[in-house]
């Protein structure tokens, strides 16, 4: 990543380039929907532009974006956009079955199935657990970093991680945590 200025608007394009996938994944982990994740991602960067803050560090910027993403997903649950949606859009992206068809070899298909089972298990967790699981295991954030970014106490983050693992273990018996 090129060095970004810590002024939001000045580094807007770079920030979108670098952080948009992260914001999208967090939104997806919380919502489980690609469409909603896209909406949230756009909203987050719109707020990022409007706020036009001067960040103290890159970690500060990242934490701001994570916090904003979490807030936006909370807002979405109560919005008209979330309540009024066509049941079947007909314009969806590739389905899971279609995705699996692309994995032609048996090994690839097995891997895909295993990853899908991991993802399904995580998506069955309550929303708050999905967030800490994603930040801890995918973004490789420490408990302290998660606490700082989400505003949840470290002890609570730890307990949420612990409970999430306890809930995942029966669903993923072959997996080491």
């Amino acid at each position: 990543m090129d060095a970004m200025t810590l002024k939001a608007v000045d580094s807007f394009e770079q920030a979108m380039e670098f952080y948009m996938p992260m914001v999208y994944r967090i939104a997806f982990a919380r919502l489980g929907s690609a469409d909603d994740a896209e909406d949230i991602t756009q909203e987050v960067f719109l707020r990022y532009y409007k706020a036009d803050m001067l960040y103290e560090s890159e970690e500060h910027r990242k934490a701001w974006l994570i916090r904003c993403t979490i807030n936006c997903t909370k807002t979405l649950f109560g919005s008209a956009w979330f309540r009024h949606r066509a049941a079947d859009t007909g314009l969806e992206n590739m389905t899971e079955e279609e995705q699996l068809q692309h994995d032609t070899t048996a090994e690839a298909a097995e891997n895909a199935l295993r990853r899908q089972s991991v993802l399904d298990a995580v998506m069955k967790l309550p929303e708050k657990y999905r967030t800490v699981i994603h930040l801890f295991y995918f973004e490789d954030m420490s408990v302290a970093d998660i606490s700082a970014a989400t505003g949840i106490k470290e002890t609570t983050v730890k307990s949420q991680l612990s409970r999430a693992r306890d809930m995942l273990k029966p669903m993923l018996k072959e997996v080491d945590f």
Binding site: Q42, L46, M53, A87, V118, T156, Q160
Partner: protein
Amino acid sequence: MDFREEYKKAAEEFSPGSEALERMKTNVRGRISSQKKSLGKISRTWGAVAACAVITVSAIALAPLMKRGLPTKNAMMQDCDSAAACAESYNGASGFTAPSFAENANEPSDNGIINDNADMFHDGLSGIEPTEKECAVENQPDDMGLPEAPSASNAGVGAGRDDPATEEIDEAADEPATEENEIAEDTVAGESDDAEDPYKDENDIPDTPVTEESDEPDLPVVDETEESDCPVVEETEEESEVYLNYSFLGEDFTESAEAWISEDFSRLTVHDSFTGAHCEFALYSTEEYPPFGTDTATMLLFSGDDSRLCTVLYNDKNRIYITTTNGRYLGAFDRVSAE
């Protein structure tokens, strides 16, 4: 099998592709430019209205004085360069004789000449006597009575609180079962996050966000410095922009058109402030999809305070189909009226 490794692989699969990333970036840029245009129109319109109001109030305030043919208070005081001149000016007008004024004027007295004149007014210049308030103002030091200019730091605080992201505090409070409430169950008694959480939104994360300039507005600045003329609302800058024109159902719209959808998503209003075109639509179906080959247009669609950049797919059968630009289909709408 390691969970971290497996989850990373799984999560990477739901990462957005380059096409989705480009689409999102384009939408964000589009929404920013749309809001800039809206803000520009609002600021220009209200700037013109404010300028008209100031001129009107000023005219109302000056009209009585001009009608009576009297000089303004400042002009009167300028004319009265000396007490003698004052006495000469007003002797005939009121029959008032003030022999002492001339004496006072020659005295190196501690009393200022303004005070003497004020006394003169109170002593009997009926009809042109200034009000008590005016006298009081004249006797005050220059800096009194003026509102203190807001300090830069205060302005900065205000600007920070206007951050739209802070709305989340209220929204979170309205949620029936907030995450924080549930988290509280996870913590031991007395460690409620709600009670101690020092930052409830993204602006309160531990490294306190630093606004660069205290007097800098939160939103992108629209240059308003040249908007003093009244009542010009339509701006040449707007006219010089190139709009993509399109039309559906017999109305001409531009890319600056905006649409509003009702809370229950049953009614849709499309309005273009640039061309003046206006259309009302009612939801026909969320099951009927657009036929192949329909034309498309893009507009900003508002639902309450929220907005999405939407694609309008339309044909010539009094029906349009709305989809968000990320592909969520909202339904088919029929035209019900037009102005």
